[in-house]
Structure formats: C-alpha cells, structure tokens
C-alpha cells in the first residue's frame, strides 16, 4: 500500500464514527433515493444516484472492515483503494454531491450520504486531492487573521465609506457601523462585500440594536473541504473576537454553510462557547413579529418566490422564518414546489460555485431548480445564502430565465425604507405582523 493511500485511509478511519458506520452498513441497495438527488434528476445516469456515489466509499470500506469483503471481495463488491481511484472519488465527493441531504430525507433506512461524502472529502483533502480553489480560499481566510494588522486599516476605511451610504439611506448623520466595539451585545458577521453589511446595518439602526461588525467574514471553506483543522481555525477567528469583545450573541449574514458551521458545528469544537448564534433571518423574523420594523410590502410588488438553502432549511431548521419575512415585505409571494425540507438544492452548494472548472457541471445540476422557479412565474427569486444566490444568478443567465435574484434582507430593507418614507409623510404606528 502506497504512503498516499495509507494516509487517506488513516484519515478515513478517524472519520469512522457510529453515525458514519451505520450509514455505510445499512444501505439495502433498493435504489429509490435516485430521483431525490438533483444531480441524478438532471442527468439520470446510474453513477449520479446517491447510493452509487456512496458505493465508491463502501467498496474500500468493505475491503477493510467486512470479513467477507476481505476473503471474497467480488461477492460483496469490495475493492482496495488505489491511487488511481482518488481522482474519481474527488469528482464524486466534490463535484457530484452538494452535501444537501435530500437523499437522506428520502431514504427509508436514513442513510446519510452527505456524511459519507464528507468522509471522502476529508481523506481527499488530507492527500492533496481536493480542488485547489477551495484550499486556496480556506488558507486565505486563515492568513487574514495572521495578517490582521495589515488588513485592519484598509478594512476600517472601507467601512467608513459604507457608513456614509448608511447615513444617506437612513437620513441619520449619526448612524454608525461599529467595528471592534467592546461590550456590544451583538457581533454581526458578514460576508465579503458590502451587500451583506449595508442592509443589516440599516436594520440594526432601525431597531436601535447594540451591535458591532466582525473583522472577519462568515464563509468557511475549510468546512467544504471537510478539514476540521482548517474549519476550526477559520471559525476560531470569530469565536475569539466574540470572546474578546464580550458579546452575547453572534448574528450571521445570509449564508447557509456559515450557519451550519457556527450554529451547529462550532459548539462541538470549542470548550468555551458562551454565545447564542443566530442567522439574521431569524432575527429579522423576530423583529417583524414584534412589530419593531415598519414595513411597506408595496415596495416589492413583483411576484417573488423563495429558494430554501439546504444548510439553512433542511439541515438547519430555518423553514418558517423566511416565510414570515416574505409575507410581510412582498406583495405577491409564491411558493415553489416542493419547498421547505423537501426543496431541491440549487446545484451550487458545498463549494461547487467556487470551482470554475465545474461551471457546466453545476449548470446541469441546477436544471431541476430552474424548472421549479419557472413554474412559479416569479420575477424575483429570494435566497438567503450567498452561494445559492450566485448559482441562481448564473442559472438565470444560462437558461435565459430573466429572473432577478435577491437576498431576503434586501427585500426587507426596501420595504422598511418605503415605510419610513411614508411614516415621515404621515406618521403612523407600526403594526405587529403575525406568523
């Protein structure tokens, strides 16, 4: 056995906990999960069926752990892992599975194919077979902390620019985007670019929240690599910052995988994790229900549909909050079918949008999503994950859908600013919106 394979298998063994082992063993090879996968739905070839993808891992698992697989490998489809298999495995685990878990929902056995694919990703990353772009993005995020002094001044200058825009939009010359404010209640963690900072800043200003903006971005490419060390290092920057500032809550920008990482994974990685983590969509839904945001849905008159991000929805439980928001801020909200936990992945998740050479692959994988959107007749597709938004925008161009893609907070801000303009003309009290 080569050193590379040895290293790959050592990493695999580390991933092999009870959940993974049960998923590897329990598959009855009934095949009914196939159509539930958007990759298979777009290209109904056997290799795209979830059970077929998982078989690439089960083959060497059986060779290692099943006595029959060791004695009579052909009988149970067991096979040694060879270096030549690693490239194919990378195509499957990184390129043909977005870890969306739609197949898990549809498997009578509860097989977690995403977990199996994550184990494959972990071993491929360990032996240098992960997509180079994902590795570079993860390492760049880690380097940002190491060179924070270098970035700080530049970043704060950019934020001051943005602050002027905030003051213009809110009409309040005192409006601020606080950075590194010790003792603030909320640490808001945005994504790279102003588009996730300004709308949140307007809303924080609207409700008078005590907040501060993180120096770091929420994205975590280490998680896509299934490399716990890298993922932890990236998450640690935010956790340390939250501790240093003494905040009570971390609020995340509209980002699917960042929510998975900080809401569901990070509390298992750090012994001291004394803050609540929420997505801005949970917070906005709460403010809307409490009547803290005056809103005018006529500011968003176009038909709007909502794409449930797999990380936030099916795997995060944020199924109703986006609907509370949309019913309050748009005039014509149309559900796509299926939706909520049964929604189809957009085809760009788990890092696919970041890998340029997989553009065609993800365009094909998004075909089911395109059909879903078209059936609604919506002009705007709202999505609360940046990766989904990128993918949906590309799908719209690729398939000539002509839809506009928007974040939820952009729609909230539009409705809020319109209501404020109205309030300034005729002062009225804001009315709570029920769920």
């Amino acid at each position: 056995m080569s050193e590379l394979i040895q290293q790959a298998l050592t990493t695999f063994e580390k991933s092999l906990d009870r959940r993974l082992l049960a998923s590897l063993e329990v598959c009855a090879r009934c095949g009914i999960c196939a159509e539930s996968c958007h990759v298979f739905a777009a290209e109904p070839e056997f290799r795209n069926a979830p059970a077929a993808k998982a078989e690439a891992v089960r083959r060497f698992y059986r060779r290692l752990h099943d006595p029959i697989g060791r004695l009579f490998p052909w009988w149970v489809g067991a096979k040694d892992l060879r270096e030549a298999d690693l490239e194919e495995l990378a195509e499957i685990a990184f390129g043909a599975c977005t870890l969306c878990r739609r197949c898990t929902m549809n498997c009578p056995m509860g097989v977690d194919t995403a977990l199996i694919m994550r184990a494959a990703r972990a071993m491929l990353t360990a032996v240098g077979k992960a997509p180079e772009m994902l590795v570079q993005l993860a390492d760049a995020a880690i380097a940002r902390e190491e060179n924070l002094e270098f970035f700080r001044e530049f970043y704060i200058d950019q934020i001051r620019e943005l602050e002027r825009e905030l003051q213009e939009q809110t009409g309040d010359p005192e409006a601020r985007i606080p950075v590194e404010k010790a003792g603030a209640e909320i640490l808001y963690v945005a994504l790279s670019g102003a588009h996730t900072i300004l709308p949140a800043a307007i809303l924080f200003h609207a409700v008078g929240a005590d907040w501060t903006l993180s120096m770091f971005e929420a994205a975590n490419y280490g998680y896509f690599l299934a490399d716990i060390q890298r993922a932890k290092a990236i998450a640690r920057r935010i956790v340390d910052e939250a501790r240093r500032l003494g905040v009570k809550e971390i609020i995340l920008a509209e980002c699917g995988h960042a929510y998975t990482v900080l809401r569901w994974e990070a509390p298992n990685w750090f012994d001291d994790f004394p803050f609540r983590v929420r997505s801005i969509i949970e917070v906005a839904a709460e403010w809307i229900q409490q009547g803290r945001l005056p809103l005018d849905p006529s500011a968003n008159p176009e038909p709007v549909t909502y794409h449930d991000s797999c990380n936030l929805g099916r795997n995060g439980g944020l199924l109703e909050e986006p609907r509370i928001i949309l019913r309050a801020v748009v005039q014509d909200f149309r559900e796509m079918t299926p939706n909520r936990a049964e929604n189809f992945c957009c085809g760009g998740g788990a890092g696919l949008v970041a890998v340029p050479e997989w553009y065609e692959k993800r365009m094909r994988a998004g075909h089911r999503k395109v059909e879903q959107i078209r059936r609604t007749g919506a002009q705007i597709v709202a999505a609360s994950c940046d990766n989904c938004r990128l993918q949906l925008g590309d799908l719209s161009d690729y398939y000539g859908m002509g839809v506009q893609v928007s974040g939820l907070m952009d729609l909230v801000v539009k409705a809020y600013l319109a209501a404020r303009r109205m309030e300034m003309a005729v002062p009225t009290a804001s009315v709570p919106v029920s769920a």
């Binding site: 095949g31 009988w75 199924l319």
Partner: protein, 205 residues
C-alpha cells in the same frame, strides 16, 4: 433422533452463532466514537426519533416512497413476511397443537413475504438500476430469505416440511451477521441518528 429433531438442534446452534455474530457486529459499531452534539437544540430530539420510527416510515412521508409506492410496499410486505417466518419458527415445536386460524394466518403472511421476495429477486434481475447497484451477496441474501419464507409456507401447509424449514432457518440465522441481511442490525441505529439529527434541528418531528 428424527431428522426434524436433529434440524431443531441445528437451529438452536445456528441461533447461537447468529447471536454471537450480531453481538460482534454491535461491538464493532459501539466501539466507534459517538461524538455527542453539544450545539443547543432548536427542536426536540425525541420527537425526531419517534417520527423516524413511526410516521417517517409511512409510504406518504417521503417523495421517494410516494414515487416508488409499489416497490416500497413490496419491501414492506417482504419484511412483514420475515417477521411472520421468525414467529413461525418460534412457535414451530407446538405446530400440531396450534389453533387452525393461527396456521392459516401464518401461511398467508409467510406466503405474502415469499411472494414479495420473488418479486424482489425479479426486480433486481430485470431493473437496470437495481442490477447496477447489486452484488452477488444481494441476490443471494434475498434468495435465501425468500426460500426460508417459502419453507415457512410449506411448514404451515404440511408439518412434514418442518425439517426443510428448520434447515433453511439455520442457514438464514447464520447468514444474518455476514451477509446483506445484517442491514437489519444497523437500521435501528441509522434511523435513530436520522431522527436525532432532524429532531434537534426542528426539521422533523
């Protein structure tokens, strides 16, 4: 000693081997780390687990089973037949003193299971997707269990088949931990983890 009594002993020995094999499999599973989830739950883990084993198994609960309703129901009947055949084995020493309606019930249920098994084998042979997914072990396991259920039918129809039923029972029991049939051991864990995950996250349950 009669052939039936001899095979009866063989079943007991096979049961011992099977229990040992299952225990060995369980030990392998439980030796692996559990990695408890310390993130604060949004929903109820127990409701999720309850859902996973009850409503979540209903044919209408999943898009896949709605789409593949007949194959799913076939699978359900096949497994009902397996439980009926196991029950038949448990009561077999008292076969002649059992009330007639029970014998009819046993015959019908094992018969349904065997029919489900035959259809399952044919599907695996003729359905391109299933063929691509299957290994020799898959065919052999379904064939063995189907033959066992068929022997159960014969046993209920005519107790003279008891020796054959016992022989196939012994083989099936021994096969549980080493063939595809072992998925029945992991099913409970896998569904438990499924329910736990989605229950905590307030997605199901």
């Amino acid at each position: 000693m009669s052939a039936t009594a001899l095979w009866g002993w063989m079943v007991l020995i096979a049961l011992g081997i099977s229990v040992g094999g299952v225990a060995w499999r369980l030990r392998g599973l439980l030796a692996r780390p559990l990695r408890p989830d310390r993130s604060p739950a949004r929903g109820s883990a127990w409701r999720g687990i309850l859902y996973a084993f009850t409503m979540g198994m209903m044919p209408w609960a999943k898009e896949s089973t709605r789409q593949h309703l007949l194959p799913y129901l076939r699978g359900v009947l096949f497994h009902v037949g397996i439980f009926a055949t196991l029950a038949s084995l448990a009561v077999s020493p008292w076969r002649l003193s059992l009330p007639a309606p029970l014998a009819v019930g046993g015959l019908v249920l094992t018969g349904i299971g065997a029919a489900g098994g035959v259809i399952g084998i044919l599907m695996r042979i003729f359905d391109e997707r299933l063929r691509a997914l299957s290994h020799p072990d898959d065919y052999a396991a379904v064939a063995l269990v189907t033959a066992w259920q068929a022997a159960g039918v014969a046993f209920w129809a005519d107790p003279r088949w008891m020796a054959v039923f016992y022989g196939l029972s012994a083989l099936t029991l021994v096969a549980i931990p080493v063939t595809k049939i072992r998925h029945c051991i992991y099913f409970f864990f896998s569904r438990f983890f499924f329910g736990l995950f989605y229950g905590r996250r307030a997605v199901l349950g």
